[in-house]
């Protein structure tokens, strides 16, 4: 009897150890980049495998590695292992191009913003790090970022080289605080098989709300699958507002326009789509994200970004799809742009080295590699004529979407605005509240947050 108990106790303890072990987080690897460099110095032959054509030049450069390299730390989040590998390969390129700078990459796998803010609070933030447009106003307002204009002038990097929407988004009080890394816009992804089944022509870039509605209704009738998806997502709904000539916030972000007629009309069309039966919210089909519903074939069209491409090819490789610009509304085109930049900490001891590293990573040559990898769209204007974009319909659609796009950013109370917007839509979906009443309440919530 005692022995059996002992065995059971051991069993429970082993289980506990397994469960706890599974919870332990992986240590971020910070040394990898350095290792690669060392390897190159010792065995130049190895380089042939990585950098193909330029071997002789690279080797001479590498041999001239200065005894002391300036070390700068970089942090970013990791969306996928593939994306991290892309960054690591760019850092490798730059370690060859600028052997005097050693970039130590310290990825933050989750809770990036909480971690970065805590690091700034304790004075241990990296020299340069990813800066999202949504969070940017807060960091700029608090003065924890380094203005980059002087460094840019000295290095001969012009603001004009970057897409206007992107570089303007990282401008605060007339100064540049971030070099755009890449960006995404929304596109209407459509399931070609469902369109074929319903006997419909594929969507085009000049579609309107009416075309969207008609096609979605036909698909619902002919195939039984929902035509479109209208999630309570503050990262999707606003484009309908823009297409209706409205705005989420005033230009100086001091007040919200969520109770303006343009917003309410847009919301009536958006939520009406579900009420009329030609659209769903992802929760209706048991998923949290409409991208998954699209992958599973539970909805024929969704508004999503370029992240859908690697996601679909990994999870739903058989999905046959295309992408066009979001349909235009009564007041024309509208889109959202999601963008991330590299920003330098105001506390960096080596801002020049950090800037040189950024300039290298975002150089035209390296940005072309980003584009060709298919994970993100480069921030440079010069690449709009790249062959990759000509050949790749989805990438071209998302890249050109930036033309009439507004940055995904609602000022210093962005989170409150996002929440108010999401809940305004949820009240309509879940509680059957009137659109007007719900959005008036949302506007009041935002105003209360703005007054704090």
């Amino acid at each position: 009897m005692m022995r059996r108990k002992a065995v059971l106790t051991t069993l429970v303890l082993v289980l506990l150890a397994v469960v706890l072990g599974a919870c332990a987080q992986q240590q971020p690897q910070t040394q990898v980049v350095e290792k690669v460099v060392t390897q190159v110095v010792e065995k130049p032959v190895e380089v042939t495998k990585v950098v193909e054509k330029e071997v002789p030049v690279e080797v001479t450069k590498v041999v001239e590695v200065p005894a002391e390299r300036i070390e700068v730390r970089l942090s970013g989040w990791t969306a996928s292992p593939e994306e991290e590998n892309l960054l690591r390969s760019l850092l490798y390129e730059c370690s060859v191009q600028r052997p005097d700078i050693l970039v130590k990459y310290e990825p933050i796998p989750s809770d990036y913003w909480a971690k970065i803010k805590t690091m700034i609070g304790s004075g241990t933030e990296p020299d340069f790090y990813y800066m999202d447009i949504f969070q940017f106003p807060f960091f700029a307002e608090e003065g924890v970022l380094q203005p980059l204009d002087e460094y840019m002038a000295e290095a001969g990097v012009s603001r004009d080289e970057f897409l206007d929407t992107l570089i303007n988004a990282f401008t605060w009080n007339g100064k540049t605080y971030g070099i755009p890394k890449d960006f995404n816009t929304l596109a209407l992804f459509y399931n070609k098989d469902l369109f074929d089944q319903a006997g419909l022509e594929y969507p085009t870039n000049d579609w309107t709300w009416e075309d969207l509605k008609a096609a979605a209704q036909t698909i619902k009738e002919k195939t039984g699958v929902a035509g479109f998806s209208v999630p309570a997502d503050p990262g999707r709904f606003p484009i309908f507002v823009f297409q209706n000539g409205g705005k989420i916030m005033t230009d100086d972000f001091s007040d919200t326009l969520l109770d303006s007629p343009e917003v309410i009309e847009a919301a009536e069309f958006y939520t009406g789509a579900r009420a009329e039966g030609w659209a769903i919210i992802p929760q209706d089909v048991g998923v949290g994200w409409q991208g998954e519903a699209f992958g599973k074939g539970d909805v024929a069209m969704v508004l999503e970004g370029g992240w859908m491409v690697p996601y679909l090819s990994a999870q739903f490789p058989d999905r046959n799809y295309g992408a066009v610009h979001p349909p235009a509304g009564p007041k024309g085109e509208g889109n959202l742009v999601f963008t991330v930049a590299y920003s330098i900490s105001v506390n960096s001891k080596n801002p020049q080295a950090a800037f040189d590293a950024i300039a290298c990573i975002t150089s035209e040559e390296n940005q072309l590699k980003v584009l060709e990898s298919g994970f993100a769209l480069p921030s440079r204007k010069a690449l709009q004529d790249a062959d990759y974009l000509k050949e790749n319909e989805v990438a071209r659609t998302i890249f050109t979407g930036a033309e009439f796009a507004t940055p995904f950013m609602w000022g210093l109370q962005g989170e409150a605005v996002n929440n108010a917007m999401a809940q305004a839509l949820e009240r309509v979906y879940l509680e059957g509240m009137s659109v007007e009443g719900s959005f008036k309440q949302a506007a009041e919530e935002v105003r209360a947050a703005l007054q704090e």
Partner: protein, 291 residues
């Protein structure tokens, strides 16, 4: 001044030598953190800039914030009021049943305890699947309810998950308490002609009173602080129907673009005071009825 013998001094030295590593860790990561948080609750602190003295305002801002009185407090109180009694009664019944001479008793003890040693994140994810619109629960019950995306069912669903996962631990504590009850008492009761249920009511429950106090206290503290299941399963939604006290603290401190550590710390101290007061009342109640 009393003289301390050499032996006592040596014992103290030995004791503190052994305690030192724990005291150091506790001092930095618990005590110092608490003191800092108490200080932050009187300041404006957004992490990027050093804290600035503000005074009592944060406490007023907490109480005045609509999310606090309209959602966080009522949701948390509902949660405590439902989960604590159910999990206490259930775990007592399980413990009593498993204290009997049953077949495969050790198997059931392990099985009931298993949820307690499983990571709450894993439990949360599993229950998200179970309660999905096309999930197992709906198929078994023949229903079509979106449990976690419905303002009426979201909080009860999380209550169920919590009861399921904590009952095992509490059962174990009750089991230990049951083993302490001398078997003569049951024999005497049996001779007096008491039924099983009467024995449970008039022998087991009164003698377990200190253990019940302990279990209820643990339950109250745990349920007031509910966070992980909500973070995994609903993130406070839909429409703040699962917004609880600790989730709101987390939201103010970590989720907002401009972190508001002052207000989050103030809410945390209000919670600590509330838990303390409720525990004291409950102690009066349980000990008072003993006399």
């Amino acid at each position: 001044m009393t003289r301390v013998s050499k032996q006592t001094l040596q014992e103290w030295f030995a004791a503190y030598t052994f305690l030192f590593p724990v005291l150091l860790g506790w001092g930095i990561f618990v005590f110092l953190a608490m003191v800092m948080s108490f200080y932050f609750s009187f300041t404006t602190f957004n992490l990027l800039k050093p804290p600035q003295w503000l005074g009592i305002d944060n406490y007023i801002r907490v109480i005045r914030h609509p999310d606090f009185l309209r959602y966080a407090v009522p949701n948390t109180l509902k949660y405590v009021a439902v989960v604590v009694p159910i999990q206490t009664v259930l775990s007592l019944i399980f413990a009593f049943a498993l204290d009997q001479k049953l077949r495969a008793r050790d198997f059931f003890r392990t099985a009931f305890y298993l949820p307690s040693v499983t990571s709450s994140v894993v439990i949360g994810i599993i229950f998200v699947w179970l309660f999905a619109p096309q999930g197992v629960i709906n198929q078994l019950l023949g229903l079509d309810i979106n449990w976690l995306n419905n303002t009426k069912t979201s909080l009860p669903t999380i209550m169920v998950v919590n009861i399921w996962s904590t009952t095992g631990t509490l059962m174990l504590i009750f089991l230990a308490g049951l083993q302490d009850i001398p078997s003569e008492l049951y024999e005497a009761a049996a001779i007096d002609g008491a039924t099983r249920i009467q024995m449970f009511r008039y022998v087991t429950v009164p003698l377990l009173r200190p253990v019940i106090f302990f279990v209820v206290t643990l339950g109250i503290i745990g349920t007031f602080q509910v966070f992980d299941q909500i973070y995994i399963m609903t993130k406070g939604g839909p429409l703040k129907s699962t917004m609880t006290w600790v989730y709101l603290i987390y939201f103010w401190g970590w989720q907002e673009v401009r972190p508001d550590m002052g207000r989050a710390s103030a809410a945390a101290f209000l919670l600590a005071v509330t838990i303390f007061v409720v525990t004291m009342i409950q102690r009066r109640f349980l000990e008072g009825s003993e006399a």
